[in-house]
């Protein structure tokens, strides 16, 4: 339906474009006045008047239609005198109603659901027809207004360009809206979570076992229940696990990445560079789920067998396997960033060092790297932020048990793993269990934000020095 409407709007706008163009030509020839813009712009002008308001209305309508209909039906359901439903139950019934309407319902059809589906159908058709009427009248109104304006308007190009610039500006606002959306969705659920669980218990508690949180309604928790929950959401083991795996990853990625960056920038011939740089960058292009599969299928079992031979007990999902593979994934981030940074060090510094008889490696170690250090630190910090936000490798290879351990051979868990585990499968939306995932997300969001901020400060400072 929306597609038909869109096509109609398109046809209308095109007709308005043709009409606007021809009309202004007629006006100019009959009254022989010189206009200030090409006839095409009058076409665009009218077409914009036709399309823009209708599109905005259509967009707003589509965004709110579903939730309004849901609200209406939920209202009827909650007014039912026989049964008093909780909001979860109403949601469930609503789902059933929709699937009955769509014809893929399986289960017993109660009268209520049947009635609901009929209501749903009638609401939909009311919405449908009122939408069409509204859009049609808007289009007619705005086109008439546009035509009226055309004959008096001497600045069609100016107006069209102004609208266009406005549109461009609105598009650039999407970035802000996204950030707001992230913060809103994370904060909203997190606040609910922290109203049930003390924020200090969350940040400093050392025991994580959210499966204990069977409580349904987060807002009404008794004192005893809370005493129990207190120890269910201590996220220190997750923070520790995340940091630990990131540390293992960095011990792999920093030396290899840094040395290959240095080699690429200072030693490699153009031919070697041309060949090996893209190959190393393949590592950054491989989806993380592939690394996860690789870690779980090859690296994890390898370590276990190897450990068994040495008489060590190695869990098949270990921090070591996940961290190692993550380190491989991060190599190209470190190497290409430090390659860039080292390349930006001015040749004059190197010349000065060579002139006093230093070897190449001495020049690199004593002059180039100290000069490039802020940039290198910045790129390492960016890599760390990537490591702590990485999800699939740890989900597939690091394990689920929240052990507070520094033994890399045991399984550990991370913030991202727990977010996935808490939100996969059937979820009740208002339980502290689901909400804790958003609280973890909020922590992750701010942690990466701060890391990136510091990293970019380093890089920026460095750029200012040499650019």
């Amino acid at each position: 339906m929306n597609l038909v409407i869109l096509i109609l709007i398109g046809i209308f706008s095109y007709t308005s474009f043709i009409y606007g163009r021809s009309r202004i030509k007629k006006i100019t020839t009959s009254q022989s006045i010189k206009i200030n813009a090409l006839p095409n712009y009058y076409g665009y002008y009218l077409a914009l008047w036709c399309a823009l308001p209708s599109l905005i209305i259509l967009l707003v309508w589509s965004i709110f239609e579903a939730s309004i209909i849901k609200g209406l039906i939920s209202q009827t359901l909650s007014q039912n005198e026989l049964n008093v439903y909780t909001s979860d139950q109403i949601n469930l019934i609503y789902q059933k109603i929709v699937s009955l309407y769509n014809g893929n319902f399986s289960g017993t059809i109660t009268n209520e659901i049947k009635q609901g589906a009929e209501d749903y159908k009638s609401f939909l058709s009311i919405a449908q027809s009122s939408k069409v009427v509204l859009l049609l009248s808007t289009a007619i109104l705005t086109i008439t207004y546009g035509i009226k304006r055309i004959s008096k308007n001497n600045k069609a190009r100016h107006d069209v360009e102004k609208i266009l610039t406005g549109l461009l500006f609105v598009c650039s606002l999407v970035a802000i809206l996204t950030t707001l959306g992230i913060i809103f969705s994370l904060l909203f659920e997190s606040i609910k979570f922290f109203s049930a669980i003390n924020i200090f218990d969350f940040l400093f508690g050392t025991s994580w076992s959210p499966q204990r949180a069977f409580v349904r309604d987060a807002s009404a928790i008794s004192a005893e229940e809370y005493a129990d929950l207190k120890n269910a959401f201590g996220s220190v083991p997750l923070f520790a696990g995340t940091a630990f795996i990131a540390l293992i990853a960095m011990t792999v990625a920093v030396p290899i990445g840094l040395f290959s960056g240095i080699y690429m920038a200072e030693y490699a011939s153009i031919k070697v560079r041309k060949f090996s740089k893209p190959i190393i960058e393949i590592l950054a292009g491989i989806p993380t789920v592939v690394y996860g599969f690789f870690a779980a299928l090859t690296v994890g079992p390898f370590f276990r067998e190897f450990g068994e031979k040495l008489g060590l007990e190695v869990s098949s999902e270990s921090a070591l396997a996940a961290g190692l593979v993550m380190g491989v994934m991060i190599i190209p981030y470190v190497s290409s960033l430090s390659d860039d940074v080292i390349n930006a060090v001015p040749q004059s510094l190197r010349d000065g060092s060579y002139a006093v008889g230093a070897t190449k490696s001495e020049t690199i170690k004593r002059v180039v790297i100290p000069a490039a250090l802020p940039g290198i630190v910045g790129s390492i910090l960016l890599a760390v932020s990537r490591a702590i936000g990485e999800t699939m490798i740890v989900v597939m290879a690091a394990g689920l048990a929240a052990n507070l351990t520094i033994n890399p051979l045991e399984s550990t868990t991370t913030i991202t793993t727990q977010i996935v585990m808490l939100l996969v499968g059937d979820q009740e939306f208002d339980s502290p269990k689901t909400q804790s995932a958003f609280a973890l997300g909020l922590t992750l969001f701010f942690a990466t934000l701060i890391l990136n901020y510091i990293a970019l400060r380093f890089v920026k400072k460095y750029r200012e020095k040499y650019d």
Binding site: L168, S172, G181, S185, A296, L297
Partner: protein, 419 residues
């Protein structure tokens, strides 16, 4: 230490340092080679499937059909008896237990394979033919040499009798390996031999198209605004900082955004390419804006001045000259951004794309999987056959990504200008 010794030592240090560099580069390249080798060696066998040749006699009697059946009749008729009878002809068995063992050599869908063949080729009614029916996962793996047949009987699912039958069938040339069309045609299944990535392919396609349609225009418009029109003020600075930050936000956070806003607040349908596409578009947006702005910035100001000097308005100078020149750069940036989105898994898991979906989606609001999510789902399965299926999915995913990146590099090299 004499001067000579000192210099020698310094040169040794130089050599060592260079060696570290070479070792690192070689190590990194070896990782790539090893990773790809593992995936390809495990996955390439999934492009073939094992079949067992079965002789079928499509008599009207065995199908309970009247003469000259219509297509509807053929679809509704009971194939079970015909299929079972034919299976039992493959090998002489005694007793129900052996019969069951024989039937278990085949995939559970043998009945439908017989039906589909006859519906497609109705001319075979009242005729005999030999069909290649899909073998069960265990036989498939056994035939491909991935099955540990040396284990004692109680530790494997194929019993000794089945092994013996299999060996006899191989002797009689009744077992073949053919191209695995199911891999591309079917949706997900609990049986590895019947599982395919058809649903995931279509799901990924819908997702990436929605991502493209949303992120490309918005990203281009936003970059044009920021690069060409934006006044230097706080709002602009704020937008810029925002974009840089968003580009570094972990992808899983976008999954939380999709879950919290798109699914809960706007009530969009769960597990669908529509929601996946919107979520990934928001994630990809800043990653496209950054290269787009760079390629707009690379157009020299003299081009803008030239246009302005003949009386083009600001908008005209940008739209007629700057943007066309920047298009190749923006396209390659977009393609790389889309390639990243195509391989993204974590946010899709959060918006429910891990649901078990057998049907291939026909519109973007049908529940569906996507290629990377399929990799995740299958990697969690215990059946041996899913390992090769997972690896094959990765091979297909990687080939898409490599193609996309190749196009991006080609665009950049072909149209790159040196100013």
């Amino acid at each position: 230490m004499t001067k000579e010794e000192r210099i020698k030592k310094r040169y040794n240090a130089e050599k060592r340092f260079k060696l570290y560099g070479i070792t690192s580069v070689v190590l990194a390249i070896l990782f790539v080679v090893f990773l790809i080798h593992v995936i390809f060696s495990k996955g390439s066998s999934a492009f073939q499937k094992t079949t067992i040749n079965v002789e079928l006699n499509f008599t009207l009697d065995s199908l309970y059909l009247d003469p000259n059946p219509s297509k509807d009749d053929l679809e509704n008729v009971e194939y079970y008896d015909l299929a079972i009878e034919s299976l039992l002809k493959v090998y002489q068995v005694n007793g129900l237990k052996e019969e069951k063992a024989l039937i278990n050599l085949f995939s559970p869908d043998y009945e439908y394979e017989v039906r589909d063949f006859l519906i497609k080729n109705p001319e075979f009614i009242n005729k005999k033919t030999i069909l290649k029916l899909t073998a069960s996962d265990d036989i498939d793996q056994l035939h491909k040499g991935n099955y540990p047949r040396h284990l004692p009987e109680d530790r494997r699912r194929i019993n000794d009798f089945q092994l013996m039958m299999y060996d006899k069938l191989v002797e009689q040339n009744k077992i073949d390996k053919i191209f695995n069309n199911y891999l591309f045609q079917k949706g997900d299944s609990r049986n590895p031999e019947l599982a395919g990535i058809g649903g995931a392919l279509v799901g990924s396609f819908f997702t990436i198209i929605i991502t493209l349609l949303l992120s490309f225009p918005i990203a281009i418009f936003a970059s044009i605004y920021l690069e060409e029109f934006a006044p230097k003020n706080r709002v602009t600075d704020f937008i810029e900082i925002n974009i840089n930050n968003l580009a570094a936000v972990p992808s899983i956070v976008f999954g939380l955004l999709g879950l919290g806003i798109l699914l809960s607040t706007f009530d969009l349908p769960r597990s669908t390419p529509l929601v996946a596409g919107i979520t990934l578009a928001l994630m990809t947006l800043p990653r496209i804006i950054i290269p787009c702005r760079a390629s707009l910035k690379a157009v020299p100001p003299s081009i803008r001045e030239g246009a302005l000097a003949v009386g083009a308005s600001k908008v005209q100078s940008v739209m007629h000259h700057v943007v066309p020149l920047a298009i190749p750069g923006t396209l390659s940036g977009t393609i790389i951004g889309l390639a990243q989105a195509l391989g993204e898994t974590a946010p899709l898991i959060l918006i429910g794309m891990v649901a078990f979906v057998v049907d291939i989606p026909s519109i973007p609001t049908d529940p569906s999987a996507s290629l990377p999510v399929q990799v995740y789902l299958w990697s969690e399965q215990a059946e041996r056959g899913f390992v090769e299926k997972t690896s094959a999915t990765i091979m297909i995913l990687l080939s898409f990504l490599i193609t996309l990146n190749f196009i991006a590099v080609y665009l950049r090299q072909k149209f790159e200008r040196k100013w």
